[in-house]
């Protein structure tokens, strides 16, 4: 286990990927923050003579909670950039070492091929999930310092967990598709273009295909749209797992080239 940990940490510390992470996350945060910094309004009706006042325990009913659930799905630039960044991470993880020759030295070390694959996938997954969660955390917390108590109450609920699970499905699906392409194709550029065509182009064409079919569901998780229903579980967890399994088989059965 110690050896695997060394390999994983070595994969995670790859300078080029860390540089891309460093260049990718601040723009992602910027896009998400621009999406957040708007006013949102709604018409409400009550049968009393005063509008509702939200004290501790009832913040989920406020328009602030509605906005917190709505803004991630409305900033589409964030999701386009995130899927491209995830594709870049997995393409860099699986192809850069082969095209620059140092993969052969890694393979001469006493590691199994599936061990190497697992370390690579895990390191790409960690970077991708961080580039999703760090912007979300920052944009939820920092512009709302005055009402942090209410934000904390909204964020630590089951429904916000649903939102996070939908967002995680987005990353998992993008990662597994681009991993498959980077194992399948023998060129970094081809792998990236294939992932781009598969992940982002349907969205530009106005089709609601995964992973972009997860994005509108983020807002609907406020009204208890569950990510654990069969349909979403299939597209968000089972299909990525299958794709990763196929990639693993291809990775272990093929020569290093």
């Amino acid at each position: 286990m110690g050896r695997f940990r060394d390999l994983f940490i070595w994969e995670l510390g790859d300078s080029l990927r860390l540089l891309l992470f460093l260049l990718g996350v601040p723009p992602l945060t910027y896009l998400l923050a621009v999406g957040y910094l708007r006013a949102q309004w709604d018409v409400g009706s009550v049968s009393s003579h005063l509008p509702p006042v939200f004290t501790a325990g009832s913040f989920l009913g406020s328009i602030t909670a509605l906005h917190l659930f709505d803004y991630p799905s409305l900033s589409t630039g964030f999701w386009v950039l995130l899927s491209l960044l995830v594709a870049v991470f997995s393409v860099m993880t699986f192809r850069y070492d082969r095209e620059n020759g140092y993969a052969l030295s890694v393979y001469s070390l006493p590691f199994g091929k599936s061990e190497i694959f697992t370390a690579k996938v895990l390191s790409a997954l960690v970077l991708s999930l961080l580039s999703l969660y760090v912007p979300l955390l920052i944009v939820d917390v920092f512009p709302n310092v005055d009402i942090l108590e209410g934000i904390r109450e909204i964020v630590f609920t089951e429904r916000y967990l649903y939102l996070l699970v939908f967002a995680t499905y987005f990353v998992l699906f993008s990662l597994s598709v681009s991993t498959l392409f980077s194992v399948l194709l023998e060129n970094m550029f081809l792998a990236f273009i294939a992932s781009f065509f598969f992940l982002v182009l349907p969205f530009f064409a106005g089709l609601s295909w995964p992973p972009f079919s997860f994005v509108p569901m983020l807002a609907r998780s406020l009204s208890w749209a569950s990510p654990f229903s069969t349909d979403w579980l299939t597209w968000g967890l089972v299909v990525p797992a299958l794709l990763l399994l196929v990639s693993e088989v291809m990775f272990t059965r093929r020569d290093v080239k």
Partner: protein, 146 residues
């Protein structure tokens, strides 16, 4: 591992700069509240709920008759109350982020509003700048000590 952690903290710091940049971008971006009809009687009220993401001014115009009130729904204080007879054009300041309700206890009004950008409150500015300063200082120290 140390390098990964360093890059992670550096990315966090630069992301805070990204939030700052977002505030600079939305400073002049416009938006609309309404138009909407708000009304109130002894049976109940129809109100407009507004989420503000910071300090902002709504240039509101009301048409109708009655007393319009703006309520901060999180701290339960009335920020603004004015009598409208016919037409009222007034800037309403929403002092911080949160939920606000524009309502009329008795009568009926049409409301349309326009805002010219959203600004960070002084507390948000302080927290943002202090976090950026502290994190960059810590990173500089770490780099220097190694």
């Amino acid at each position: 591992m140390r390098r990964t952690l360093f890059v992670l903290i550096l990315a966090f710091t630069l992301s805070l700069l990204g939030v700052w940049g977002a505030y600079l971008t939305v400073e002049g971006s416009q938006g609309f509240i309404g138009p909407a009809v708000i009304s109130g009687s002894k049976d109940g009220i129809t109100y407009v709920a507004v989420h503000s993401s910071g300090w902002m001014v709504i240039n509101a115009s009301f048409n109708g008759r009655g007393t319009v009130v703006v309520l901060d729904q999180l701290s339960n204080e009335a920020l603004f109350a004015s009598n409208v007879s016919g037409h009222l054009n007034v800037p309403i300041v929403l002092p911080r982020e949160g939920s606000y309700a524009i309502y009329i206890p008795n009568g009926s009004l049409t409301l349309s509003g326009h805002y010219n950008g959203i600004h960070p409150t002084s507390r948000v500015q302080k927290v943002l700048y202090a976090s950026i300063a502290v994190l960059s200082f810590a990173l500089a120290l770490w780099r220097w000590w190694r």
